[in-house]
Amino acid sequence: MSASTTTGFSARPPRRALAFWTRLRRGDEVAYTLTLTCALSILAITALLVFELYTNSAETRHKFGWSFLSTSVWDPVAGEFGALPFIYGTVVTSALALLIGIPLGVGAAIFLAELAPAKISNALTFLIELLAAVPSVIYGLLGIFVLVPMLRAAEPAIRGVLGWTPLFSGPFYGVSLFSAGVVLTVMIIPFIISISREVILAVPNEQREGALALGATRWETTWDVVIPYARKGIMGSIFLALARSLGETMAVTMVVGNDPKIHASLFAPGYSIAAVIANEFTEATGSLYQSALIELGLVLFGLTMVINGMARLLVLSTTKKGAA
């Protein structure tokens, strides 16, 4: 159902139709104020969240300024804090997840929307959307005990094909940026599939019929006509997936290796913003250390806000349904 059309009453209680006291006695004024307060509290909570993160990170913001984001030394003992290794790890793992996840996700969405009969498509989508409900700590558990050993076994093969690039050099212990990227892929695919499928289904049938009538094959119709038509929505789904993978904590923490250094190789252990907060927050001694971690939280918040904001606008502009 469309969220942007008004199906409620006329927008507000009629202001001048009844006297204030009448409305109050009937409960309208009470209900209006009560529900408005709850709606307002969303704005208040978001504002409070930004305020808390901002004020509690004052110490590092004053001490390091913008260089916090561009230095790569993370040495709690010496009181040196630079966020770059974490930003690097976050971006690299998410980029890797998108690199694998986009073709897989969009491919599956095409199959579900264009090829599969409606009943099968619905059933499969149901199963795939269940994947999105699996708690991230379970993905982490499977990551540690299943994926990491699997990747260790597959290492020679991966090296054989891609070993010539600097991206797959150096020793491989199993926990690495690469493993984190693979776990993230599995976690974001359901989002890409379910939203992309929806926007592909929303493409008018005339588009397909036109292309097919001109002699295009099924694939050409899909790739040259349907996908370009749905591209904004698909982009939106990718941004949503990106925002989710940037902020993903548990699964990444458990397989990324937790090494606050920048390595070019994907086989090397790394760290992510969310992972360092999860790992070090409780043991952060001293206010500077804690402030640095809170500022990392602020950075992560800003990052996901921007990506999410763009995603919502994209999805909104195609399907007219923001709550995807």
Binding site: V134, I138, F145, F301, N308
Partner: protein, 282 residues
């Protein structure tokens, strides 16, 4: 010319097969996850898991009764915060909202929904733990409660909007005030959907680990009242999984299995109810 046509047909066949394989891979992953957890977690699940406290390292047996109760307490607290605010906020958006202000609220809600859970944890930490000076069930419950609000708002709004306008008009034509119409006619009509939405919301936060790490922290014993650190099932899965002990890993699998079954059962039930009502099914 003939070759060209053959090539196009071949590409068509290959690409369409590939899309099928993508789907198979995605669905296969779910089947694999379920199978693996059942194999490793479900089989070794014993009654002790639900009734006993965790044992110290080296001692076999024991369970996670305290974590199960802890999770239940956290969810109760989270519902006390998330459900009323989310529900009433949703009523506002669906029934009273003006366009511009509603858009701002809706957009903020979606953004808050997208905030990484670990950031919500930091927020609850600075808000409660830092002020109180100690970890507590209260702080964890508040973190989860904040996470519940956005989905509760959006799903309530959606289900209220699905109620036909004629029902509202009918109630008001009979002389009901707007409030009376909403609370005695519109909300009861959307009741099933709203409750299902909230169940889904609960299932989602039930699996959250990150916001609890430094709010409710963890506890190897029972946690009395609301003012002490408490164990929670997802946090136990994490702590036990990264521990170096073999029998703890086994417990982590069991806990993971219980958690997954809980979350998936609620999800499947909710989706069946919703599709029966024709909300989700196309």
């Amino acid at each position: 010319m003939l070759f060209h046509r053959f090539r196009r047909k071949a590409i068509n066949a290959v690409m369409l097969t590939l899309t099928g394989l993508c789907t198979l891979l995605a669905v296969g992953t779910l089947v694999f996850i379920l199978g693996y957890l059942f194999e490793h977690g479900g089989r070794s699940l014993t009654w002790d898991f639900f009734t006993k406290l965790p044992t110290p390292v080296g001692e076999t047996g024991g369970g996670m009764a305290n974590a199960i109760l802890g999770s239940a307490k956290l969810l109760l607290l989270a519902s006390c915060i998330g459900v009323p605010i989310g529900f009433l906020g949703g009523v506002y958006l669906a029934e009273f909202g003006r366009s511009t202000f509603s858009f701002v609220v809706r957009y903020t809600t979606d953004l808050l929904n997208g905030v990484p859970s670990i950031v919500i944890g930091v927020f609850a930490y600075t808000l409660i733990v830092l002020r109180q000076g100690h970890f507590s069930t209260l702080a964890g419950g508040i973190a989860l409660g904040v996470m519940m609000i956005p989905i509760a708002i959006r799903s309530t709004e959606e289900f209220l909007r699905a109620v036909p306008l004629s029902l509202r008009e009918g109630a008001m034509a009979l002389g009901a005030s707007k409030t009376k119409a909403i609370f005695t006619v519109v909300i009861p009509a959307a009741k099933e959907g709203i409750i299902t939405g909230i169940m889904l919301d609960l299932a989602r936060v039930a699996g959250e680990t990150a916001p609890l790490l430094f709010t409710s922290y963890g506890n190897n014993f029972w946690s009395p009242g609301w003012d002490h650190p408490t164990a929670a099932l997802p946090v136990m899965v994490y702590n036990y999984a990264i521990s170096p002990y073999e029998d703890w890993h086994q417990q982590a699998w069991s806990a993971g299995f219980v958690l997954l079954m809980l979350v998936l059962t609620v999800n499947i039930m909710a989706r069946v109810i919703l599709s029966r009502k024709g909300h989700v099914a196309r």
